[in-house]
């Protein structure tokens, strides 16, 4: 893969891009570019961006004039470029977060002074669990049994005796 730097004005956003970038998404990309710089090239086919449209839009928002790109192989036709664009978006979409690892890492970074917003995450909100009045099971009683004939309910007592419930 050959990387090159081109002027942003020379690039065209894919008019057929099937992925829509919300303002929130673009803000997150812009925040990332601003903090970390561009670490991955966008992918271009005949001057049209087929992967990294959000990155290009965010770079424009930041007032960048140049951006790093990777050109598609010269023998790719429009159909192959379209297929790659869909596959690129879909393959990252199919990954899932490991919520526990994610939550731990966000916690750690937050403790180290990183803003969670900058990483595109909302503030970590814990579920709002409340104390419950619901009765807890008794550990000092054995399970109760019911006679199927007369519905008499009983349990085995501490010394093995039958205790009515």
């Amino acid at each position: 893969m050959k990387l090159e730097t081109v002027t942003i004005d020379s690039l065209i956003l894919d008019p057929q891009n099937a992925r829509k970038h919300s303002k929130r998404n673009l803000d997150a990309i812009a925040a990332s570019l601003n903090k970390f710089g561009q670490r991955k090239p966008i992918v271009v086919h005949n001057g049209v961006v087929i992967a990294g449209n959000g990155t290009l839009e965010a770079a424009k928002l930041l007032g960048w004039t140049e951006i790093a790109v990777s050109q598609c192989p010269s023998d790719w036709d429009a159909e192959t470029a379209k297929a790659y664009a869909l596959a690129d978006n879909r393959s990252s979409e199919l990954a899932e977060w490991d919520q526990i690892t994610l939550s731990k890492q966000l916690d750690e970074l937050s403790d180290l002074g990183w803003s969670i917003d900058l990483l595109g995450f909302d503030k970590i909100e814990l579920p709002d669990f409340k104390p419950e009045d619901a009765e807890q099971p008794r550990l000092d009683q054995s399970a109760s049994n019911m006679c199927p004939q007369c519905s008499f309910e009983w349990r085995v007592g501490k010394k093995g005796e039958i205790e009515p419930v």
Binding site: E132, P137, D140, K158
Partner: protein, 234 residues
């Protein structure tokens, strides 16, 4: 800082265990679940259960309904000390389960736990439990009991004569048995007679430094290591 310890739902307790406890697994069976709130914010759960072994009380002359196990203390960042939180949960447990006479808990040295929270709460150290059978299956350490339960409920059954062979046939050809770890056992008596009885079983606390022991004020056996005694019913 306001601290509230109160009964909580299974979901709340599970959330705490999955996010804030190293095991990331809810214990099975009948559970008493107390949530912990600091300044109205849910920060974890303390869970008591019957324990995995139905003969848990036998060495202390107790029936199953007279003993319970502190099975999970799952907390995120908190201001109160863990021993304070556990002590408050014990008060509630005792009130709601007046028949319970002894609480037992285990600290896993494999997790580098020596039972600091129990030592801070003045629990009685009762030595190490016998090591259980454990297995490595698909790279994960699994308790023998869990493997046998898995076998029982698995859709693929074979004529394997034991759980290890079944695991090798069905789950992982490289499954192997490993020496299980023994755990530090701590006791918390809930009445005077029980305290008197289990105090006699007290051993010096294991310290954070591997192999050394720390004496307890109440043990009266400073520097002395006892073999595991058997309790007599008084």
């Amino acid at each position: 800082m306001s601290l509230v310890i109160a009964p909580c739902s299974f979901d709340a307790a599970k959330y705490a265990v999955m996010n804030w406890h190293y095991s990331q697994a809810m214990p099975a069976g009948k559970l008493v679940k107390y949530g912990v709130w600091e300044n109205d914010k849910f920060i974890g759960a303390v869970i008591y259960g019957r324990g995995a072994n139905k003969d848990l009380g036998k060495p202390y002359g107790l029936e199953q309904i007279e003993i319970c196990e502190l099975v999970r203390v799952a907390l995120t960042k908190h201001e109160a000390t863990v021993s304070q939180i556990v002590a408050q949960s014990i008060k509630q447990l005792k009130k709601e389960n007046p028949g319970i006479r002894l609480i037992i808990s285990f600290a896993d040295p494999e997790q580098n736990h020596k039972g600091g929270i129990y030592q801070a709460g003045n629990w009685i150290y009762n030595g190490c439990s016998q090591s259980a059978d454990e297995y490595i299956v698909n790279g994960e350490r699994i308790h023998g009991r869990s493997l046998r339960a898995k076998r029982k409920s698995h859709p693929i059954q074979t004529n394997a004569k034991n759980a290890l062979i079944w695991a090798q046939q069905v789950l992982d050809p490289n499954a192997q048995e490993v020496k299980g770890s023994s755990k530090h056992r701590y006791l918390y008596p809930l009445d005077r007679n029980m305290r008197k009885l289990v105090s006699a079983l007290s051993l010096p606390y294991p310290s954070a430094v591997e192999g050394s022991i720390v004496s307890r004020d109440t043990s009266g056996i400073e520097g002395q290591v006892q073999s595991l005694p058997t309790a007599q019913r008084s």
